[in-house]
């Protein structure tokens, strides 16, 4: 095995010093001479027709330079090509409290705020809907004039093999209902953007976005500017977690205001507005029915999800598919039927939050399996170990699993937590629970289907020995800038801190699709690897000539290029660059990455495929106070199959951060609205939206499982999202172990625990959770024969009776 010099080591991140000295320039830290400040007027109605907007007085206020309304930006946009349903400012109708309707640019923030008060908007209210069930029950009035049915945005019905027949062959059939409440990303940095317009027709936008490439596209579309004249620079994000992955109203508005005024225009959202931007976890109702043999082997599964999408499409079509896609990559599911629906409601739009559409079904599945294991009287860890998907296999829904370290993960946490001594054996009030999960290392298909790479890198070798890496990837705190430097440093044998990293600037860097779906380490990492290997090849030719050594015998390490058989016979890396530059001119290379072709060819097969799947197993220990219902989590044991760490310290940091965010979702975080009067957000503040502080955070014991995947750079797979997924079900299962009640929805609040305990005390079912799944007008299923039925990944032809 190769001994890595950089890969896997616990090194500082390349931007660590800038971050600890406060030198990192976030979007709101930017200021320009003559800069104007923008403020948005947001809807006070959840669902209403805009009858009129009067901006006369606002325009007359001293210091106001421009006012915009919907008619100034009539072209719709949206992250997905199939959901171009947003406007930078609502032209004729508002769909949630917080929907932007007008914008002001003024010489001071105070003036801009004062001007908002002078804008008069007349609304004509329309019946509003505060839950997915309400939206299902009322196809009219429609929130949008598109979508699959009434207020249902998307309907999916996919069947892989005959699931009903397979379930009928089981020894035990179990049905359960679950609900996962919506939650938000809550990045510490509020979204901010600054736009600058130059009289030569060039627009520059600095913005805290995870996806500068998609912002670039949206600006070109809505502003009707040539994309080549637009430069989007993603500033380092002060946390993203998926919440800065859509092109946003405020980004387009400041660009338009800069064009109109000829002055730089900045906007920084208030914390309340960040809650309205949202795009967080979809509240999801789920029903699952599984057939199992006596040993726990699954014969078939039928899964239904109903997502509350909020007011706009965002990534929602993909989110809906994701609630059904990854059930098959952990345990063997030979036949599988998935039905998913997404409803529009009059709430802040939902979208992708860490785990994108998969934490909800994972919660349902892992609690469901815990109940099945209990009925079968099998240890839930043992049951899972027996049903694992084998490595290098194809699932019923045509996902190609490569390396698969879940078995090792389960063993690690079972041993580490002393599971066998604790499960069903701890005193009343204390308990342990286990859950597992998997996540993608980037999506197999891009948002806009095309044949171009998903990630590109350019690399420049300087005669000083310095190297510059250019990549469109966006640093959101996950360490993507550092990954580029480490990989290039490993291949070229130089110090990663001798590498300059230039990222996320559409003028300077080749496209990377963005920091979402845990794609960056694998995809930009592979692109960087290819560019670095090409550079090494060029340098090798000239170093070999000079040293009179065969090129294949050269080693690049320690800032030198030398003969592997005679270490003294070598030269400095900088000298190798100089030789190559003298012979060939400026030394630069490129690298790019495109994921392998997916096996599924049916409609809907685009969501789920990934070059590699990460795996996690988790044991949570809880203390439940039966008097107060308060659940405390002292310790979580987590094992994560990351393939290969690029930086072990960063990997553990991502694991701990995932556990933290999962703990918040398990116990306290929820986006809740007052449905009784207007659909107004109950808690749009950091004080009222409860998230874990140091006092709630648990101890975390992390085990890294390194089962290298052939598709990852050095074998690396994702870590930023997967380890969040098993936390919520592990905590729910532990609560049951502790006090014998099932809380089949998150967050598991003290009120719910007390309610379940009281019910149990009265001899009722000790459970809190949903009681029914509404009737949904499902379309005819798309039937896809499974690989073991001789399927080729395509849907079967419809037989017309």
């Amino acid at each position: 095995m190769t001994q890595h010099k950089v890969i896997g080591k616990a090194l500082r991140k390349v931007d660590a010093v800038a971050k600890v000295t406060g030198a990192t320039r976030f979007a709101d830290d930017l200021a320009f001479p003559r800069m104007l400040y923008c403020k948005l007027l947001r809807s006070t109605e959840p669902h209403a027709k805009i009858v009129s907007i009067d901006t006369t007085s606002a325009r007359q206020l001293d210091g106001v330079q421009a006012v915009l309304t919907g008619k100034d930006l009539p072209i719709p946009f949206g992250i997905l090509p199939v959901s171009q349903d947003e406007h930078a400012l609502c032209p004729d109708k508002v769909r949630f409290i917080g929907d932007p309707v007008a914008a002001v640019a003024a010489t001071t923030e105070e003036t801009a705020t004062a001007a908002l008060d002078l804008i008069k908007v007349a609304y004509e209210p329309i019946k509003s809907f505060d839950s997915a069930e309400e939206a299902v029950a009322h196809p009219e009035p429609r929130i949008h004039d598109y979508g699959d049915s009434g207020n249902l945005h998307k309907l999916i019905n996919l069947e892989f093999g005959d699931a009903a027949a397979a379930i009928a062959e089981a020894d035990l059939v179990r049905e359960d209902l679950f609900f996962f409440e919506g939650s938000t990303h809550l990045p510490m940095e509020q979204h901010a953007a600054v736009a600058q317009w130059s009289p030569d027709g060039k627009l520059t936008l600095w913005t805290s976005t995870q996806t500068p490439h998609y912002v670039h596209r949206a600006l070109a579309k809505v502003l009707e500017l040539p994309a080549a004249r637009i430069r989007v620079i993603a500033t380092p994000n002060g946390g993203g977690f998926g919440g800065k992955s859509d092109p946003f109203s405020h980004e387009i508005v400041v660009a338009k205001l800069a064009m109109l005024t000829g002055r730089p225009v900045k906007i920084t959202l208030t914390r309340e507005e960040v809650f309205y931007c949202h795009r967080g976890r979809h509240p999801t109702l789920m029903w699952v029915k599984t057939g199992v043999k006596r040993d726990g082997a699954i014969t078939g599964m039928h899964f239904r999800s109903l997502l509350d999408g909020g007011a706009y499409g965002s990534y929602g079509v993909a989110s809906t598919y994701y609630t059904g896609a990854l059930q098959t990559v952990t345990y063997n599911v030979p036949c599988y039927h998935f039905q998913g629906a997404r409803a529009f409601t009059n709430k802040a739009p939902c979208g992708p939050k860490r785990g994108h559409g998969t934490p909800q079904p994972r919660f349902a599945l892992e609690v469901h399996l815990d109940k099945i294991a209990e009925q079968l009287k099998i240890d839930p860890a043992e049951m899972r170990l027996k049903t694992l998907v084998p490595p290098n296999s194809l699932t019923a829904n045509y996902l190609r699993v490569g390396s698969m370290g879940l078995g090792k993960c389960i063993t690690k946490v079972v041993d580490g937590s002393e599971w066998k001594k604790k499960f069903r054996k701890l005193p009343e009030g204390r308990g342990v629970g286990l859950a597992c999960s998997s996540y993608i290392s980037g999506a197999g298909l891009p948002i806009y289907w095309n044949n171009m790479p998903h990630s590109g890198v350019q690399l420049k070798c300087d005669r000083s020995g310095g190297v510059t890496v250019f990549c469109g990837s966006t640093e959101i705190g996950q360490g993507s800038d550092s990954i580029l430097a480490y990989i290039v440093a490993e291949i070229l044998g130089i110090d990663p801190f001798d590498i300059a990293v230039v990222t996320a600037d559409t003028d300077l860097t080749p496209v990377d699709l963005g920091s979402y779906s845990s794609r960056v380490t694998l995809m930009s990492g592979n692109a960087a690897l290819q560019a670095a290997e090409r550079a090494r090849q060029i340098l090798s030719v000239h170093a070999a000539k000079k040293l009179e050594v065969p090129a294949e015998r050269l080693t690049f390490a320690g800032g030198r290029v030398f003969d592997a058989k005679d270490k003294k016979r070598g030269l400095l890396f900088a000298e190798a660059v100089q030789l190559a530059e003298a012979a060939e001119g400026t030394i630069g290379t490129v690298g790019s990455y495109t994921p392998p072709q997916s096996a599924g060819k049916y409609r809907g097969a685009g969501v789920g495929p990934s070059p590699a799947y990460s795996y996690s197993a988790c044991v949570a220990e809880v203390d439940v106070d039966p008097e107060t219902g308060i659940v405390r989590v002292p310790t979580i044991w987590i094992a994560h199959d990351v393939g290969q760490s690029i930086n072990s310290m960063s990997v553990i940091g991502q694991v701990e951060g995932s556990i933290y965010m999962g703990l918040g979702e398990a116990l306290m975080e929820e986006m809740t609205y007052r449905g009784d009067r207007k659909v107004v957000h109950k808690i749009p503040s950091l004080l009222e939206y409860k998230s874990p502080t140091t006092l709630e955070m648990c101890d975390v014991i992390t085990y890294l499982v390194e089962d290298p995947d052939p598709n990852g750079p050095f074998g690396a797979k994702e870590v930023g999202q997967g380890p969040l997924l098993p936390v919520m079900p592990a905590v729910a299962n532990a609560v049951y172990d502790a006090v014998g009640v099932r809380i089949d929805e998150v967050p598991i609040t003290p009120e719910k625990v007390l309610k379940a305990l009281r019910g149990k005390g009265k001899g009722e079912e000790g459970r809190v959770g949903p009681k029914r799944f509404p009737d949904i007008p499902w379309p005819e299923p798309t039937r896809v024969p499974t690989p073991w039925e001789g399927g080729d990944g395509k849907a079967a032809e419809r037989v017309h009776a």
Binding site: K13, G22, Q190, G238, G239, I476, G653, G657, S691, T694
Partner: protein, 155 residues
């Protein structure tokens, strides 16, 4: 406009600003010290923490005018002669800063803790940092960095 004098990061500094401004705004907008961040401007998240006469305060809730004549320390004052403060070193070395947005506040809150208690227990660190939110790290690497810096500063 009003004018006040601060003992800012060890230097006497006069600054003029609109009288309604908070210390946070004075630091970021009038003194150009953007190392101090904000997450809510309502005193809820701790992200704007600076040291006022050595004590952590939420600069979004402190009126600039009320700070006249007092000493203010921000993250920009921590590194001296181009050398990082021990807390900055350990935060960088142990991965305690991910996105880095809450980091200046944590550094200053931790510095105040170590000034008062050079050998804090893990629970004392948790108590001292309970008013600062971090959404990236799960706090664990922050505790480890504070503990290692405390050890180095005692040596």
């Amino acid at each position: 406009m009003v004018t006040i004098t601060l003992e800012l990061n060890g230097e006497r500094k006069e600054v003029a600003f609109e009288p309604h401004k908070t210390l946070l705004e004075v630091l970021r907008e009038d003194l150009g010290l953007t190392g101090t961040k904000h997450g809510c401007e309502l005193g809820e998240c701790g992200t704007c923490t600076v040291l006022l006469n050595g004590t952590p305060v939420l600069s979004c809730l402190a009126l600039g005018l009320a700070c006249d004549g007092h000493s203010v320390r921000t993250v920009e004052g921590m590194a001296q002669q181009g050398r990082l403060h021990p807390l900055q070193e350990t935060f960088a070395d142990l991965g305690a800063a991910q996105c880095g947005y809450c980091t200046p506040a944590f550094l200053l809150a931790a510095e105040a803790l170590l000034a008062a208690n050079p050998k804090p227990t893990r629970d004392e660190i948790k108590d001292a940092l309970a008013g600062n939110l971090c959404r990236c790290t799960g706090y664990i690497k922050i505790y480890e960095a504070v503990e290692l810096a405390a050890e180095r500063m005692r040596a």
